[in-house]
């Protein structure tokens, strides 16, 4: 009996190509690939993995929600009370016994990986965050999926970086790359994710890391959109600024949003350490107690449960009265503070957006009620409210502006968003100098760099340390006798700075100059052999420190006239400037 040719075909194909595939892999192994190239490729792979995991994470949350609370927006009475409490017990056991590192903010844990742990995020943390956060949010705890998504992305990146045995510097930076991917997929908003990671995690714009972050964010969003569609997170009616007076209403919302942000931050930062100081056994019941309270609130106001994106959509479509929206905002602050402070893993992003949408909607609806001539739709207020609270609570003003545009796909709203966000940000910063992420990290015993504080620290510049040159700079075309006359007039001078027509600068010692036995009319430039690095007054002092090396002094040159000496700077001057600043900071 003969075998059918179709049955043989796959085996024969495999035999034929197996050797070739091995050969290709072996050749690839011998290729000379630089780490930078691998890093960029890895960023894409991280983005793809993060995108997949975030999609699965979201599916898990939704599936658990439907399983535990039902598919209706308003769950039935027994479920709404029992489910969050029982789930809270399970969550407490998992957090205390199995995944102790999944408590707290994923943003801070990513920052911790970057600044403290050389990019290390334990894989168990990622697994724990994935399942326990999904259970928490799906069971109705008032938390969001974005923060865990961010940490899942960072964890994936850390894992892959370790497996590829990247260098210490790359390994450190890999966690933010993954964080951007996770956040981008969670929000379906790559620009927001990139900005947030730059603004809140890394704190600086660096070309080396920026490319990787952008690549990972985009690739994760591509995956997310591939599976879940490319529609924006929110859909609001089109908005047009009809009259400039409308901006006053948005400014008023900025003020309200600013104070609401303060309330939220104060409640969370007060409640969290208070609950931690309770006896250890109570920690088993804290998430359950929080769940029970949220469940009881949910009997009347189911909107406060879970991430609440459906209700944000409803608020944007004028679903509720302004009084009801205000109540929802207040209850959400309470329930989120309870969930987060009880150690339940989950994020603050969605609750912050929820509170913002409710406050914004409330302001919008009341504006329509009391000032009917204002034509602004309440949905626009709700959208701006989200950005306002984001700026006020999370203190990422740039991200907050771009986030609103990106998640809504509405670019005409930028002006109100900027006005409202700036006001809320300034109010929040005035009354609460330490941002919430820094408060949380300090409560966790980590002294992570505060990027907001760093942004505020003034940069020392060359002009802060330089001093005037004691003698004029010489020119390379000057005859020797002229240069010698300068030295004779200033006998203490040791080093003379010489400028060349092409913008270079050199130096010659007074001793060398005076010892030359050549024709006095010869140009000085012929005998200058030392060429100096140049500094400009606006450069950071750090640049001067790097360049000064063994030079006794360096010239500080005018940018518009490269032969004009503005001043000179020495190592002693630099150290004195740093010392003075340090003294001022210490005294402050």
């Amino acid at each position: 009996m003969t075998t059918a040719p179709e049955a043989k075909f796959p085996i024969s194909i495999w035999r034929k190509y197996y050797g070739r595939v091995r050969g290709v892999i072996a050749t690839a192994g011998e290729l000379s690939i630089r780490e930078e190239q691998v890093f960029l490729l890895l960023a894409i792979i991280i983005g793809l993995f993060s995108g997949l995991l975030v999609v699965l994470f979201r599916l898990l949350i939704e599936t658990l929600r439907i399983m535990l609370l039902g598919s209706a927006l308003r769950p039935s009475f027994p479920r709404v009370v029992i489910v969050p409490a029982l789930a809270g017990l399970v969550i407490a056991v998992l957090v205390i016994k199995v995944f102790p590192k999944i408590r707290g903010s994923g943003v801070n844990q990513t920052k911790g990986a970057l600044y403290i742990y050389d990019g290390y995020i334990a894989s168990s943390t990622v697994i724990g965050k994935f399942f326990v956060s999904a259970l928490a949010i799906g069971s109705g705890q008032s938390l969001g999926p974005e923060d865990p998504s961010l940490q899942i992305g960072a964890g994936v990146a850390s894992f892959l970086g370790r497996k590829l045995k990247l260098t210490r510097e790359r390994l450190r930076l890999i966690a933010p790359v993954g964080a951007a991917a996770g956040l981008a997929a969670a929000f379906n908003a790559p620009i927001t994710a990139v900005l947030f990671v730059i603004e809140e995690v890394i704190g600086r714009w660096s070309a080396g890391i920026l490319g990787a972050i952008v690549l990972s964010a985009i690739s994760s969003v591509v995956v997310e959109r591939w599976f879940l569609g490319d529609t924006p997170l929110f859909r609001i009616p089109s908005y047009h600024l009809v009259h400039p007076a409308e901006l006053l209403a948005y400014a008023a919302m900025g003020v309200i949003g600013g104070f609401a942000s303060l309330v939220f931050v104060k409640v969370v930062s007060y409640l969290r350490p208070k609950l931690r100081t309770l006896p250890h056994w109570t920690q088993y019941f804290q998430p359950a107690a929080a769940g029970l309270i949220i469940g009881l609130i949910g009997v009347r106001y189911p909107q406060v449960m879970g991430a609440g994106y459906e209700y944000m959509d409803q608020a944007m479509h004028g679903r509720f009265t302004w009084q009801f929206l205000a109540i929802l905002a207040g209850l959400k602050i309470l329930s989120t503070a309870l969930s987060f402070a009880s150690g339940t893993p989950g994020g603050l992003f969605a609750p912050v957006l929820f509170i913002g949408a409710m406050i914004g909607g409330s302001v919008g609806m009341s504006a329509q009620t009391f000032f009917p001539h204002l034509t602004i739709p309440a949905g626009a207020y709700a959208l701006v409210g989200m950005g306002t609270l984001f700026a006020g609570i999370l203190r990422a003003p740039m991200t907050s502006v771009f986030m609103i545009m990106e998640v809504s796909g509405n670019y005409s709203i930028i002006l109100p968003v900027i006005i409202s966000n700036t006001i809320a940000y300034l109010i929040s910063r005035s009354f609460q100098p330490v941002p919430i992420f820094d408060i949380l990290s300090r409560q966790d015993g980590l002294d992570l760099p505060s990027l907001e504080e760093e942004r505020e620290v003034g940069i020392l510049r060359v002009e802060d340390a330089m001093r005037p040159a004691p003698i004029r700079a010489l020119r390379s075309e000057e005859p020797l006798y002229s240069a010698r006359a300068v030295v004779r007039n200033a006998p203490d001078t040791e080093l003379l700075l010489v400028s060349f027509p092409d913008g270079r600068w050199g130096a010659i010692t007074a001793e060398t100059l005076m010892g030359l036995t050549v024709d006095e009319t010869t140009p000085l430039g012929d005998y200058v052999t030392i060429h100096l690095p140049l500094l400009y007054p606006d450069q950071a002092l750090d640049a001067a420190l790097r360049q000064i090396k063994d030079w006794p002094l360096l010239p500080v040159i005018h940018r518009a006239d490269l032969r004009r000496l503005v001043g000179i700077i020495s190592l002693k001057d630099i150290i004195a400037a740093y010392h003075d600043t340090g003294t001022v900071l210490h005294e402050e």
């Binding site: 892999i25 690839a28 192994g29 290729l31 000379s32 690939i33 780490e35 691998v38 490729l41 792979i45 793809l48 993995f49 997949l52 999609v55 699965l56 599916l59 939704e62 599936t63 439907i66 598919s71 209706a72 927006l73 308003r74 403290i116 742990y117 050389d118 990019g119 290390y120 334990a122 894989s123 892959l160 370790r162 497996k163 590829l164 045995k165 990247l166 260098t167 210490r168 510097e169 390994l171 599976f227 569609g229 529609t231 859909r235 609001i236 009616p237 089109s238 459906e310 959509d313 409803q314 944007m316 479509h317 004028g318 679903r319 739709p377 309440a378 949905g379 015993g445 980590l446 002294d447």
Partner: protein, 423 residues
């Protein structure tokens, strides 16, 4: 602060003491070497492909579940919608469906409809506007927005959305021409209700152009033309309707009305007679027929009258007009309330009015000697002149005197309308 026990190997996570090197991974390198990276990348890509497959499967399963749940809520909502009392419950159901499939525009549209039914117009409008942002050419969305605007009293906005609906894209379930026609009829009705007859007429003209050969539609359009003040088109349209269904006698009444509006009383009389005969319960039509018959009864220009009857009719009408004018003049100069009191001054001080009424009296006096059967018989010009006086006298009396209008006066006015419109 960084706690001592917190330090762990960045590669394997093994807890380390400060300064200790990981016994498994060794020290962290500041230089990267290739060491198997391509193999790992190939493995990663393989895992990625597997991950895509798993995620695809999970997403499909979830979306299928989500769709079925959303469809379940949607069906419930549709059932609730059928019961007009349950609009609020339908809103909840549609919201549940929409929460599961936020991008489903059909759910959002039905939610809007339920919200309109529940009287929650602001919410409905917001949902519709967000749909409109996505699909400005969607006829159903435009239609709902138009209806909503009507409820908000924004007629111009409503007309704009109706136009959007008419020229937009209808969903696959709808027959576009039929839907367009019904929308045109809807907008025309709105315009008629708001006395925008010109705009209504243009909608109706367009509607007639695309109306199918169905009696009901043509009859409705004919009636609407009549309401819009275009009896000519109304008559033509109704005539076409009658051709489509000659047995429906209601259309005869409508044709009579149209003919009446066209001041073709003889024609109107014919249609109304047939209509009233077939539908005797239509009191309004019967009244109209009586009016028409009254006109016919006094009309001196009616075809078939002999010269004597024609002259007699003119004389009767002259007498009626003369008496009317007399009454009118008397109303300006009421008799003294007591014999010793002086005559009251004219109630209308306007000299122009007095002059006009006096002028008419002078004209009547000039005509009076000619108003005999003998002198009028066969004298068409004299008859014509007398009838002009009759019509003008009636008009003057109506215009300047606060006298109650008698049936004969109304009939004379109708006669004047017919005469002058024919001229």
């Amino acid at each position: 602060m960084r706690a001592e026990e917190d330090i762990s190997c960045p590669r394997c996570g093994k807890p380390l003491k400060t300064g200790e090197t990981c016994p498994i991974c060794g020290p962290l390198s500041d230089e990267w070497t290739l060491r198997g990276a391509p193999y790992i990348l190939v493995i990663l890509i393989a895992i990625l492909l597997a991950g895509f497959s798993v995620t695809r499967f999970a997403v499909s399963a979830y979306q299928s579940k989500q769709r079925s749940l959303a469809a379940m809520w949607y069906q419930r909502g549709m059932k609730q919608m059928q019961d007009k009392q349950s609009a609020a419950k339908a809103v909840d159901d549609f919201e549940n469906a929409l929460a599961l499939q936020l991008e489903n525009n059909e759910y959002r549209l039905h939610l809007s409809e339920a919200l309109i039914q529940a009287g929650r117009l602001t919410e409905a409008r917001a949902h519709l506007l967000s749909l409109w942002d996505q699909r400005p050419g969607d006829s159903l969305v435009n239609l709902e927005l138009a209806r909503l605007s009507v409820q908000r009293g924004e007629i111009d906005v409503a007309v704009r959305y109706y136009e959007g609906a008419i020229y937009g894209v209808w969903p696959s379930g709808e027959v576009p021409s039929k839907a367009r026609l019904s929308t045109r009829i809807e907008v025309a009705t709105l315009l008629l209700e708001n006395h925008r007859n010109q705009q209504a007429q243009s909608q109706l003209i367009a509607a007639v152009a695309e109306a199918p050969q169905e009696f009901d539609i043509w009859q409705q359009l004919g009636q609407m033309f009549l309401e819009a003040g275009d009896p000519q088109r109304s008559y033509t349209t109704l005539l076409h309707a009658r051709r489509l269904n000659p047995r429906d006698r209601h259309v005869d009444i409508a044709l009579g009305e149209a003919a009446f509006q066209m001041n073709k009383f003889e024609l109107a009389s014919r249609w109304l007679y047939d209509g009233v005969y077939a539908v005797p319960e239509d009191k309004q039509a019967a009244q109209l027929l009586k009016q028409v018959n009254d006109v016919e009864a006094i009309d001196p220009f009616r075809a078939g009258l002999n010269t004597r009857d024609r002259a007699l009719r003119v004389i009767n009408l002259y007498k009626t007009a003369f008496a009317r004018l007399d009454q009118c003049f008397a109303s300006f100069n009421p008799p003294a309330t007591a014999p010793n009191q002086p005559q009251a001054p004219p109630s209308i001080a306007n000299p122009f009015v007095l002059q006009a009424v006096s002028g008419m009296r002078d004209w009547s006096n000039q005509l009076k000697p000619k108003m005999t059967e003998r002198r009028l018989r066969g004298q068409t010009d004299a008859q014509e002149n007398a009838m002009r006086f009759v019509f003008q006298a009636e008009q003057t009396a109506q215009q300047y005197c606060a006298l109650p209008s008698r049936p004969i006066d109304q009939t004379i006015q109708l006669l004047a309308r017919e005469r002058w419109s024919n001229e």
